[in-house]
């Protein structure tokens, strides 16, 4: 299991990040704020790190710098670091990268984008890195590759189908409204309207049928769609 350390002082955000990572097949470890950050990292030796810049006793930049240069932290030297910050300052972004961060994400962020960045960073860091994967019953979906699979086989999805499936899987068992799906699709530059959404959902259904998972995608007339393994 790929372990990702989360260094963030806001408990709610930390909880949410952990939930998203867990959902995508990563194993999150949360810093408990009372221990020293470096001791925490040395103890767990995570595979990657999500680091907030505005921490209470120490600045995130300092942590990045220390990880990349200090002798006592040399075992962590090459660990991928994604900096998460509310600052929109380009200077902060540049400085983070110069100090050795692999990527910078600004708040507020789209969870799917955060995962995509993490996947991408993990893949760059190691040839055989396991990237994120979501599962629901027999159905598995890999966001980085836009590929859905099941014991029966696998199928490549179009960008829109993949986006819809990803969103439904993040909200597994909960109903996602049509508006929400459209908002998500718009974020990838696909400014779809109501009809186009219906068309894309039908295409997704067909793709799922190829791998025998059609029953997981349920239409809730008038409300939206839900992806669930529980069956009705």
């Amino acid at each position: 299991m790929t372990q990702i350390a989360i260094i963030e002082d806001d408990r709610i955000l930390q909880g949410e990040l952990a939930r998203i990572l867990d959902l995508h097949g990563y194993s999150p470890i949360c810093w408990d704020q009372t221990t020293d950050v470096y001791e925490f990292l040395l103890a767990y030796k995570p595979d990657a790190l999500l680091l907030d810049l505005s921490l209470p006793r120490i600045h995130g930049h300092e942590v990045v710098r220390a990880l990349r240069t200090e002798e006592r932290l040399s075992v962590l030297r090459h660990i991928p670091v994604i900096v998460v910050t509310s600052s929109q300052s380009e200077y902060d972004e540049l400085l983070s990268m110069n100090l050795g961060a692999d990527d910078v994400v600004t708040k507020p962020y789209n969870p799917a984008i955060l995962i995509a960045r993490l996947d991408s960073v993990m893949r760059r860091a190691s040839v055989s890195a396991v990237t994120s994967q979501l599962t629901c019953g027999d159905l598995a979906f890999s966001p980085l590759e836009n590929r859905a699979s099941s014991p029966t086989g696998s199928v490549d999805l179009s960008r829109n189908e993949a986006k819809i499936l990803h969103t439904l899987m993040i909200h597994e068992d909960a109903i996602v409204s049509r508006s929400d799906l459209m908002v998500e699709l718009w974020q990838s530059d696909a400014f779809v309207d109501d009809n186009t959404l219906t068309v894309n959902v039908n295409r997704l259904r067909k793709s799922l049928r190829h791998i025998g998972c059609e029953r997981y995608l349920i239409t809730k007339r008038g409300i939206g769609y839900v992806l669930t393994a529980r069956g009705e």
Binding site: S86, K107, P108, V183, Q187
Partner: protein
């Protein structure tokens, strides 16, 4: 469409004409100043002249009587006049230089620094007036300094506050993903609204700043329009509106990207509030130095009695309905931001026929000239 033009704030033209005055006009001004100065001096010393004249006549007559010679009398008369003129006119020359320098400084907008630049006159009553002036300007400068410091403190606090508030807003946003409908859409919409208001507050604060922070950079118009639409996704989708973006790739202008994106979002928001079913972002074919970006909608349009006032601060349209926002600040803020950025903004509309907002964005900006104009 019946075109009626609103008040245009064409800032590019506005800034240009304030450029340096030509030297020939300066020369002309100097001549005018000299004439005016001499004229007013003479006017205020008319009584002195009369007294001098009379005294000269009396002394001359006396001298003629005493010496018995008319020539001597006339000579004495002339001598008295000459002496009197020298005494009367000497201050004219002395204070001329002082007055000219002061007038020059006031003309250049440097009135607060008169007492540090101009030499203190040594004679009364000029030196008393000068001391009073020094005191006055010192007090004014000190007050302005205090106000500036206060303003900067406020700004710094504002920036910090905006920064801080993003964290709870993000947390709220994430947590609300788990709430069920119908509450979910409502809450998420309100959170987006909060986010926009926070941003608005920041931009309003920055506008009043002495130290406006513009990041002039090359901006791909198609990209920034898409970004604005993405951020307005929820609002547009809920109104059943899909954007049409007709902008060629690689259409690059020079401006502050974040502020432009904010303005676009405001304009989209307006269009939605005013009954748009379709919003189109396009560029007008243009060979000149600037690109015209059009934001068109097919909403209710703006009635002709309102259109010249839509950019006014706090303007809320007929029947108290606000065009742009309930506080009437939305479009006002856009117009102010455009003016500060050197972007032109105008609106065309007719009641029942939709609205087109045009933004004039320069392809390239001479940064030096931009900065110089801004400081004036």
């Amino acid at each position: 469409m019946n075109e009626r033009y609103s008040k245009s704030i064409l800032s590019v033209a506005h800034h240009e004409h304030r450029d340096a005055r030509t030297s020939s006009s300066k020369h002309g001004d100097l001549l005018d100043f000299v004439q005016e100065f001499v004229r007013s001096y003479l006017r205020s010393h008319v009584s002195d002249g009369v007294i001098l004249g009379l005294s000269a006549v009396i002394i001359g007559a006396f001298g003629a009587g005493v010496s018995g010679s008319r020539a001597a009398g006339i000579l004495i008369f002339v001598l008295v006049i000459l002496t009197g003129l020298i005494i009367l006119l000497r201050p004219l020359f002395k204070t001329y230089a002082l007055q000219r320098d002061i007038a020059g400084l006031i003309e250049a907008g440097e009135s607060l620094h008169i007492s540090s630049v101009v030499e203190r006159p040594s004679s009364a009553p000029d030196k008393f007036y000068f001391d009073a002036l020094t005191r006055l300007t010192a007090d004014a400068r000190s007050e302005i300094g205090q106000l500036r410091a206060q303003r900067m403190d406020q700004e710094r606090y504002m920036e910090l506050w905006v920064h801080e508030i993003k964290t709870p807003l993000t947390a709220l946003n994430l947590v609300c993903q788990k709430i069920d409908e119908p509450m979910r859409s409502t809450i998420l919409r309100e959170i987006t609204h909060l986010d926009t208001l926070v941003e608005q507050a920041l931009y309003v604060a920055r506008l009043k700043s002495f130290n406006q922070d513009f990041k002039l950079e090359h901006v791909d118009l198609a990209l920034v329009c898409k970004e604005a639409c993405k951020r307005m996704a929820r609002a547009m989708i809920e109104c059943g509106v899909t954007p049409q973006i007709d902008i060629a790739d690689q259409t690059v202008v020079t401006t502050d990207a974040k502020q432009l994106e904010f303005i676009l979002r405001q304009l989209i928001q307006n269009a939605l509030q005013y009954g748009a079913h379709h919003i189109r972002l396009s560029t007008q074919p243009n060979e000149g130095e600037a690109c015209v970006l059009k934001i068109s909608d097919d909403g209710w349009g703006i009635p002709s009695q309102d259109i010249t006032r839509i950019f006014e601060r706090g303007f809320t349209g007929k029947n108290g309905r606000a065009y742009g926002s309930s506080t009437g600040m939305g479009l006002y803020l856009c117009a102010e931001m455009c003016q500060a950025m050197g972007v032109g903004i105008s609106a065309e509309s007719a009641h029942g026929e939709g609205t087109v907002i045009k933004l004039v964005l320069p392809y390239d900006v001479d940064r030096f000239a931009f900065e110089k104009n801004r400081r004036m």
